[in-house]
Symmetry: C2
Subunit: 354 residues, 2 copies
């Protein structure tokens, strides 16, 4: 059995009776019942995910998957394609948004080259922090054919599953992130294919394109869907035809984490597209997910609603990289600390409600 | 000139031209313009508040003001009045929600006894961390008369102004919090008086009272307003007649901080009532405020809208103590770190948008 089938076989529903047990403890703490709102919800979910009555977070890791997209040739992004490897180098040198927010939140960033169209080995820089898992040198242009072959698609998912296994440890929480110039285009194509909504309804302005470029981007997505005819009853077909390597890596990370009962905080638009593919393969993965934030990018809410996920923060973010996940992980951790560290009414000698 | 008049005299509008300068730097960083949304907004505001082109946060302090309320005798809270001093002791021992979230965020908590109806000196516990600034042993019952005399009102505000001065230092950011059984009742009375809305429109379920108790609470507030007839053209009259010491302390802290160009993150419902009084005394204080979160408590949004403040998070919190401020301070700090620590396009050798 392959890694993917094995992961799918091992994903089990969380034990919802643990929500009740967790709430009993939350209600014994020195605060009005339910008064810490979603922080309490995060604690309950962490208890149910881990199956531990007193779980802790020992380590926070964000995987930033980087991959290139042939469709960048169609001029769908405000940035040139060489920015993908340039930003990977920026990640390795600690100067990007994700690095700053990860340092702020005590999060480790693992940068994964899963499909960048660049040979990092040709550079005279320290690559010890780069996880080399390259499946392709960029995907195919989805306006002219499929993004990936079925084999490349599976392999990209397996990269994520392997990383979940390699980094799995007691008390770990994963976050997802990505970098890939033009990657809102395949993400919108995926959402359109799965939801049946027209591309214009689920496409946004990405890194900041003009209205004219936006109309062109929508046309490119329409063309890509018409040409590739992805079968939305077959998530792997959709992912391979109009997706991308970093999206597939995120899908795999989520499946691998859920199979090991590990929580995953998904970042914004592109990460959620990766989560959507995982959800289409196995809706139960949803139990293991925290949605970091409500992205400005159109189409994000369609996915969150479809999976029944409520975003943790709403800060008008649209950068990706895992920046929203870095922030939200700290709030999930805050909820768990409330659960573990607050005094009970009994311990503190505080009178309970009448 | 008294402390209050002196503070009011020293509050100046922030220099909005600094928003433009701050945005220029933000736009030079390796990310699409504006893509970090509100994190960028927080950085701009910190630049304009401090007047520094590269401000940093060196220290985060939350003042948790504790005071009792005579109106607790009317049965408006789900908790008995003795919980106020019990929770103060819990704060000092590190077991309350604010302690957990402050530790998580690297925030110092200063607990201020500004009006608790209890003699902490009678206990055999370490009080070195308690700031004793007691103005009264609890306020008067607002259903039977004014909460405070005009002198007590001024003195309570001065306590906050004094604390702002005592703790002022380079790179400090303040947060507000409070503890006082029954204190949503005077807060709703204040909002009703200032906004002209009926008590039922701006009153919530506080710590979690029943619908029957809620109807009673609304009646108590209506009675208090009818009896005391606060003059909403005179913010000190409103604060004294239907407010409370901890609310006044928060008002003072905000005025004192604004007079020194220091930022303040206001917590939820009660803290925002304190901010509203400061705003009514001097609308310019708004420039120095960050609204931590959108409280579940009805009436909170009325105040935020009135002052033109947009809350940072929305996590269904209704605990108070400064818990929302502890979370939001970390996000303001994250915005400032983005501003200070990210690489520029030039430094990182990343191509800019076309």
């Amino acid at each position: 059995m392959g890694l993917l089938d094995n992961a799918l076989d091992n994903i089990e529903k969380i034990d919802e009776s643990l929500f009740v047990k967790a709430q009993e403890r939350l209600d014994s703490l020195t605060k009005p019942r339910g008064s810490l709102g979603r922080l309490e919800e995060f604690a309950r979910q962490m208890v149910a995910i881990t199956g531990e009555l007193r779980p802790v977070i020992n380590k926070k890791i964000i995987f930033t998957f980087a991959g290139d997209h042939g469709v960048a040739d169609e001029g769908v992004s405000a940035f040139p394609k060489e920015v993908t490897p340039q930003m990977v180098i920026n990640f390795l040198q600690g100067g990007a948004g994700i690095n700053v927010l990860a340092r702020h939140g005590g999060v480790e960033v693992v940068v994964v080259d899963i499909g960048v169209d660049f040979d990092f080995g040709s550079l005279d820089i320290d690559l010890s922090k780069l996880k080399s898992k390259k499946v392709v040198n960029g995907t195919g242009n989805i306006r002219k054919g499929p993004a990936m072959t079925p084999e490349e698609t599976i392999r990209s998912i397996e990269v994520g599953i392997e990383l979940a296994g390699e980094y799995a440890s007691e008390g770990i929480i994963f976050g997802t992130g990505e970098m890939g110039i033009a990657n809102t285009t395949p993400s919108s194509a995926l959402i359109s294919a799965f939801s049946g909504r027209r591309p214009v309804e689920v496409t946004g302005h990405g890194t900041g394109i003009t209205d004219e470029a936006f109309a062109h981007k929508v046309k490119v997505i329409e063309d890509a869907l018409a040409l590739n005819k992805p079968n939305n009853k077959d998530p792997l077909d959709v992912l391979g035809k109009v997706g991308g390597t970093e999206i597939a890596g995120i899908t795999g990370l989520i499946l691998g984490a859920a199979a090991r009962r590990l929580p995953v905080v998904i970042d914004g638009f592109i990460s959620t597209a990766g989560a959507l593919v995982a959800y289409e393969l196995c809706p139960t993965v949803k139990d293991y997910l925290f949605a970091a934030h409500r992205s400005v990018e159109k189409g994000h809410e369609v996915m969150l609603d479809h999976m029944g996920l409520r975003p943790i923060v709403d800060l008008d973010l649209r950068l990706g990289e895992g920046t929203g996940a870095a922030i939200a992980m700290g709030l999930v951790e805050a909820g768990l600390k409330i659960y573990n560290e607050m005094a009970t009414f009994g311990d503190a000698g505080v009178s309970e409600e009448a």
